[in-house]
Amino acid sequence: MDLNAIVEDQNPWWREPTRRTAGRFPVRRDLQGVLLEHVLDLEDRRATVVLGPRQVGKTTLVLQTADDLLDRGWPPHNLTYFDFSDDRILQPVTARQVVDAHPVGFDGEQPRALLLDEIHLAPNWPSWLKQAVDRGGGRDRIVVTDSAASLLREAGRESGQGRWDEHRLEGLSFREFARLMADEEESVEEAWRRTPNLLERYLATGGFPEHVAATDPQSVRRRLRSDIVERAILRDLAGHVDRVEPVRDLFVYLVQESGAIFSAQGASNVLGPDVRSVRRWISLLEDTFLLVSLPKHAQRASTGLKNPQPKIFAADHGLISAFSVLPMQEPALRAQAFEAVVFRHLRDVARKLGGELSYFRLRQDLEIDFVLETAEERLALEVTAARQLKAKKLNRLRNAHNALKADRSFLLHGALIEGEPEGLTALPLQRFLLDPLDSLTGNAR
């Protein structure tokens, strides 16, 4: 199949202007509005790069953007979508070739939207993007997606500055998940009240949109395992390491240990490879966006540099249940999922507030799961899946709060807790997940 045929096939609105492609994904992600706004803002010449792991919904996001643009009257022939990972592509295709494959009816005087999916598969894409932004002067509205951070790094963050904005697309947030599960014209809050086990379903299935609608959580686990291992790790990392199997083993090990302080030596002892290899593979795995690290809180900048000791988390809590040998109701696994899901939502909050996230640990009995440092205040957040709040735990949290010199401390819990522990804000997990930013800043509804 030649390139023109593939491009035409991927852009059915060129033939049928009323054609929409994302109709079967009715729910919009929070990021979708940002993308649409960016494309429509002709004063902003910068491109947009959407980064996220495989299967997180990047393609759906850009296709929805295409639909919305067409719905708002964007000229169909001035809208090009292209997926560089299309199986029908036999030879590498450059971005330039795609741009040149415009249809009959294309109006060069009008702005053009270019939505390019999995851009890292296009040779020399960084230089093309730089030139396109520099020369286009904003006439080409460009959105690209990428699921491999290393390539973006190779493209050079410096050269991207001022040329493109980066956005991270993660697995569905709880609010997005609830929106997906809600009936038509039903608000997220109504869906949550109607469905007592909504949070549990979210915890069990994770936030990968393709899988959350499955009826059977077991099949979600199975599919995630095969898709993530087969596609994200075995295929994507195959060209970067001699043998990909040990990297896969390391990934499974880290997911099973999600939330633990990472020790390259410890992983080396358990899995066999030398420490240097482990460190290199960690970097590769982080580039798949499937793992996320959380640095240790440094009260003095120099301390942080000397002793980074990050914690490594599964980027999406669905991975934890998918790769665990234990059932989800196991308390230890539940605690890991709780932490991972809180971290996922805190990353959103930190991005919105321009804050930094870390964990605090002075010694074993003086630690806090998450510290969110913004320009205004330092928030401490402890997560517990325990059924009861024991006085000892509360005291430890108060001591840690004092040692950290936190402005405010929160206890995020999943239990039926009455009253407010002195000096702390007890926040039910589901309330936090429904409105992470507002519940921390005090504007919760």
Partner: protein, 389 residues
């Protein structure tokens, strides 16, 4: 005070001997009296030592008048219905040169069966020859005065009407013991808060399942009742257990919908919610109820018109979607049944899922669907709901 001499007589259907020490265990005496009340009556002698069932020695009862009075009080407290003077009398009696106690037992057949209240529960012993055994379910039911069942049915009907009048579109499941059981609702509230509502595994459910063992806030302790729920009176459900053993589970119809067409009942919700109610009832009633305690179970759907139900299991994927969702065929807004089901507690204890299934089967029938349409996750052979891990 002189009476026919009991010594050297043998215990039989109408005669029982207890040593003087038995006064320290009035519960054991109560059991003997209840057993005779449920049989043919007779005499229970206190202060007569027996060997191999034969009375061999009289033992003095200190302060016999007071002991008789105290024993009678204890029997009145422990037996239900409380025995009248005509049914049970306790008398000091002289045997040789000792004063012992004799309990004369004369049952009224229209008040049988008599229950012994023990550890908050009701027990129905019956004397057979010189031994005692628990009455069978049939015996209790045959003897259960219709009035008790009628009363319980009336109470359940009235409760149903109250819910109906509230005008919510909901499914309600009511359980009402036909004889009173005593539930310590304060202790139950603690257990719910500290364990049950945080640990659905106690009733064999997982957190992702559809069940009543979860709550959006801590359970509330009211007057002789404990309540919990999820977001009620907004959807989704509320549950209530009362001190006399009645239980109410009300679930918004909207909460029975998960996927599929608009106003389509998700079959697993319909199956799992009632079964979870029976599993909870088993846990809550296991101490205060006896095997024979009759539990009346009623189910009702308010605002069911326009709702649909599809046959098969959603876990069968596209096979499930092949079948069309069937709309509730009647023009009525509500779906109720004239006769509730009655389960002896032993059935709820041994096969709670089967009890729930029997109610659910009625719903499928009302939609014109056969029993085979109920999801296969209810294993007909074992009578258990088995959800995939």
């Amino acid at each position: 005070m002189n009476a026919p001499h009991p010594l050297r007589r043998r215990e039989d259907l109408h005669l029982e001997f207890k040593s003087a020490e038995a006064l320290a265990r009035p519960e054991a005496i109560g059991r003997e009296v209840a057993a005779m009340l449920n049989a043919d009556g007779g005499e229970v002698w206190i202060g007569i030592r027996e060997e191999n069932g034969t009375a061999v020695e009289a033992q003095s009862i200190p302060d016999p008048e007071r002991a008789a009075e105290s024993l009678l009080d204890s029997l009145v407290d422990r037996l239900n219905p409380s025995p009248s003077h005509a049914e049970v009398q306790v008398k000091p009696v002289k045997v040789e040169d000792k004063i012992v106690l004799r309990i004369d037992v004369v049952p009224s057949s229209n008040r049988q069966p008599y229950a012994l209240i023990k550890s908050g529960g009701w027990h129905f012993p019956r004397r057979i020859g010189n031994r005692i055994r628990a009455m069978s379910r049939e015996e209790v039911f045959n003897r259960e005065p219709e009035a008790d069942l009628e009363d319980a049915s009336r109470r359940i009907r009235e409760e149903r009407e109250r819910i109906q009048e509230a005008g919510r579109d909901s499914m309600c499941l009511l359980l009402e013991p036909a004889c009173e059981v005593a539930i310590d609702v304060s202790a139950l509230a603690d257990e719910l808060r500290n364990d049950l509502l945080n640990n659905p595994a106690r009733i064999g459910f997982r957190r992702i399942d559809w069940h009543f063992a979860q709550a959006s806030e801590a359970p509330r302790l009211g007057k002789e009742r404990v309540q919990w729920g999820w977001g009620f009176p907004e959807p989704a459900y509320r549950a209530e257990v009362r001190a006399h053993g009645a239980m109410l589970f009300e679930c918004a119809l909207g909460a029975l919908h998960w996927k599929g067409e608009e106003r389509e009942i998700w079959p697993l919700c319909l199956l799992e919610y009632p079964i979870s109610a029976f599993r909870l009832a088993r846990l809550i009633l296991q101490k205060p109820a006896t095997d024979e305690t009759p539990i009346i179970a009623d189910m009702a759907f308010f605002g069911i018109r326009g709702w649909k139900l599809r046959q098969g299991s959603p876990l069968d994927g596209s096979l499930f979607r092949i079948h069309e969702a069937v709309e509730y065929p009647e023009p009525d807004q509500d779906l109720t049944w004239a006769k509730p089901l009655v389960f002896p507690f032993t059935e709820i204890r041994e096969t709670p899922d089967r009890c729930g299934f029997r109610l659910v089967r009625r719903v499928y029938e009302a939609f014109g669907l056969p029993e085979t349409a109920i999801p296969r996750e209810y294993d007909r052979e074992s009578g258990r709901l088995v959800l995939p891990e």
